[in-house]
Symmetry: C2
Subunit: 147 residues, 2 copies
């Protein structure tokens, strides 16, 4: 296989550690997600790649990539699960979730504000019998298109 970008190389390495092949179908999905504004569902990816991959293969690849820690799932409206690159690949961020169309947009905040969020998360998890691995501020509202 020919790695064509730093992203591909990172993903390939991670998958190799799990003895999983970075096939062309999986590359297509990873690249589609790398170019997206936010998480995409299997159906949205199917459209995005113009049906180049059958839905069942998309579902299987998404599951494998999630298992390997390459993708992270986001559960949204109407029982749709959308996927995005894991944070070690795309950086820590938060979500703007449209209550009308369900679209999710990624946002980042400056370090100062992120530190404040971290402090709140630490306080919460230290008080609860709960081991925190990650967090995201989910902001619900109406996106520009649905306004």
């Amino acid at each position: 296989m020919t790695t064509s970008s730093g992203l591909d190389r990172e993903v390939e390495t991670r998958l190799a550690e799990h003895r999983i092949r970075y096939t062309s179908g999986r590359q297509i999905l990873v690249r589609a997600l790398a170019g997206a504004e936010g998480p995409l569902s299997a159906a949205e990816l199917h459209d995005e790649v113009s049906g180049a991959l059958p839905l069942s293969s998309i579902y299987r690849s998404l599951a494998v990539l999630e298992e390997a820690g390459v993708l992270a799932p986001h559960h949204g409206t109407k029982g749709l699960t959308r996927y995005e690159l894991a944070e070690w690949l795309k950086g820590h961020h938060h979500h703007l979730v449209c209550i009308d169309c369900g679209a999710v947009e990624d946002v980042t905040v400056n370090d100062h504000h992120e530190n404040q969020v971290d402090r709140v998360v630490n306080e919460i998890s230290s008080k609860a019998a709960f081991t925190a691995f990650n967090h995201a501020l989910e902001i619900e509202g109406r996106c520009a298109r649905c306004a």
Copy 2:
């Protein structure tokens, strides 16, 4: 109908404004959710009330109660939608989401920390073409039972 608690009275009033009846089935659901640690799915509620209500009625009541602003949905693992009392009934809070079993536990933080979160939310929504209505800090990790 005999209102048996302040909660029932508040819900009944709200539903009356929408010309919706606060039937016994709906009372059962609202009370079950009032006594829960976090959001519950239709199936979980079905179990919780020992099948006293058929699933289809539970789904219909949940939809009606959400429409009336009595319940708020939470989208979780495996495409399950869980419901909880809306924030005007139970107060603002955040979520601890178990990545293993999918259970969601509610948590609250003190005013100081909540203000910090608010500031971050305001900064984000002011910079994005997005009208924020609500937010929740979703903390992913492993709950005590799954640890």
